[in-house]
Symmetry: C2
Subunit: 391 residues, 2 copies
């Protein structure tokens, strides 16, 4: 565990978890008895760009949890953070300033330092032969850059491997898109999704560790009857919710919503359709309303699906049961369905409220509700899973 | 102001409002210089059933704010609460136990004490000649009982008036339905809504004052690293959200969602359609996903609309601007849209995020986002507005 985390974050960042149930069948968090080497002899050389951020820290946690092999790891951040020390797997590291020369002899670089850093340093790293897995939106819609969720469209990155001496860019989709498609894609493979209406319930973490601290601080203040301190967001967040803080475009959608619309179309929801020679399901119609709610680190999404052919809810449940990286929490009798809290710090996305949409004829529609850890599957885990496929 | 409120509620129930903007054009909260008589000579005799609850208290606030005329008012509650004293408009009242004889000489009774109380005492009151405005779900779907939002379908209660010596039942719709239809109906009048997909963000208040106190207490506990006390809800509410706590039906929808589906159909979204001799738009297709979020007293709803005929978003904005009881907050440049906090304690429902749905052809679809005070327009205000129409 990267102890760095604990120095920099508020009390809640790692511990809003009291009372949460363990997800049945969850694949994360290895048992306490697993032993691992503090430094491997084999494996690629890694670099983590933006290592002091919320996602950067989670990269380290995921690398540890999944025993991701590496022979070396560079901790990179801005000049401001450079020089800080960081303990990872029993080793001390000094955070280095990101420069043009940071990527000599780096096989895989995991980027999460914002779009402008990615735009500047991503191509430089590729030139040096590094495979960049980028968590920003900088390259997602760029022609030729695979936009990958390993469970959804692994074939998109075919041919990109460590050891072939060639750099490459691979983009990690937006967190809301990943979490949505983890459930929508398996269904789409069975019966094509023609239209999808998504409303999100997005956590503070999507705006970074400072936003999580702001939510915590504001909540203290409001409970004490003090005016809330608004720095990251322009309005009170504690005991409130608001339209996503990204810029609103001329069509009235904000950037977060258009990511869901466009990214879903780019990789066409589904990989297996490739076998039917349909490269991208660019005709999948998506609308989204993205809302920030006072939750720490996991997103929820209410998803309404319209299918081309009937899909019975029992069939849908069977499909989702078998889908990788997904757990079903769908107990109508006890009113037990996914919540952000119980997926927090978990790898799997949870899906529930699976039901026939009463507003559509027959079995042409379904409503589902998903929750996924925004920092983990929504960002760091997905990137490390991509890196695993590079080996 | 009913001072009772302050004795019984947690600190946040009336004051989660720091930092909120005043809604432009809002009609609530009269100025401080308005004088009113503490007891009127004229007006109907009133009874408030469930006066010690969150909605019961709000009935009193609304009666005061709107100068609702009455010649007497009975404060009714369960045996447990009977005997408590209560100050209203400078007069002291003793809370009386609700009995079969409570309604002698009562013209209008405002009920908000749960469905079973309404079922038992509502018909008894009607027999005595009382007009009952019921906030529970007991009679909403009953044939012959008008289900009324005054801005939406006032004609449904035509012929029911105080002074004709006849009792009657009038049902107040569910809070989520009212808040949704305040914005959907004006649009539907212009271009028929054929299908509506709703995802809600529902406040604690919908589950009563005790739920609001539980959210406040849990938030304290979680911030202090203690396990949260779960009494009203079965899981942690602070920094979390969950599927609405109402029972889940065999079709997978919970009762709250089916209220939105069925109530919307019962009064057919719209009143003006009556002139076209279509009594109820029972063919309006609705699906809903209802989620409880950690917000105190105002609901938000993400609403996707499909129209029979094209409706341009500019036309929609003009229609909503003119709609009674509605304010538009829709500033894309400053990312200023409705939030639960700024509609808290306000009469008007706020609507924003008005935009053409990119997932539908041409102008056949719109996405909107609404927020409304659950206790006020979602319950007490709507009931008092109904009562005003009885005079």
């Amino acid at each position: 565990m990267a102890t760095f985390t604990h120095h920099h974050h508020g009390a809640l960042l790692k511990t809003p978890l009291s009372g949460r149930a363990r997800i049945p069948g969850s694949k994360s968090s290895p048992g306490p008895f697993r032993v691992r080497m503090s430094l491997q002899e084999t494996g690629p050389s890694l670099a983590v760009v933006g290592v002091t951020g919320a996602v950067g820290q989670e990269f380290l946690s995921v690398i540890q949890d999944r025993d991701f092999p590496f022979r070396s790891i560079k901790m990179l951040a801005s000049k401001r953070s450079a020089g800080q020390s960081l303990n990872f797997l029993g080793q001390n590291y000094v955070v280095e300033e990101l420069t043009r020369d940071s990527f000599d002899d780096v096989d895989i670089a995991l980027f999460s330092a914002g779009g402008s850093i990615s735009k500047e340093f991503g191509p430089l790293a590729v030139e040096r032969g590094t495979i960049v897995v980028d968590n920003s939106s900088a390259f997602r819609m760029q022609e030729g850059v695979p936009l990958v969720v390993p469970e959804v469209n692994p074939e998109a990155m075919e041919g990109i491997k460590v050891g072939r001496g060639k750099g490459a860019l691979i983009a990690n989709p937006n967190c809301s898109t990943i979490i949505c498609l983890m459930a929508a894609t398996p269904l789409h493979r069975h019966s094509k999704v023609v239209r999808m209406v998504v409303s999100t319930y997005q956590a503070a973490s999507g705006a970074g560790a400072a936003a999580m601290r702001e939510l915590e601080q504001q909540t203290h203040e409001v409970l004490e009857g003090k005016p809330p301190t608004c720095k990251i967001f322009q309005r009170q967040y504690a005991f409130n919710l608001f339209s996503h803080n990204s810029a609103v475009l001329p069509n009235g959608y904000n950037e977060e919503e258009m990511k869901l619309v466009k990214e879903t179309r780019k990789y066409g929801l589904v990989s297996l359709v490739v076998f039917l020679s349909v490269r991208n399901d660019t005709d999948v119609k998506v609308t989204a309303t993205c809302i920030r709610v006072p939750v720490m680190r996991a997103h929820a999404e209410s998803i309404n699906l319209q299918f081309e052919n009937p899909l019975h809810e029992d069939t849908a449940r069977d499909i989702l049961k078998k889908a990788p990286g997904l757990v079903i929490i769908d107990d109508r009798t006890s009113n037990n369905f996914p919540t952000p809290l119980e997926v927090s710090n978990q790898d799997d996305v949870a899906v529930g409220r699976i039901r026939r949409d009463v507003s559509q004829e027959g079995n042409y529609g379904l409503d589902i509700f998903v929750c996924g850890d925004q920092i983990r599957k929504g960002a760091a885990l997905n990137a490390v899973q991509i890196a695993e496929m590079l080996l």
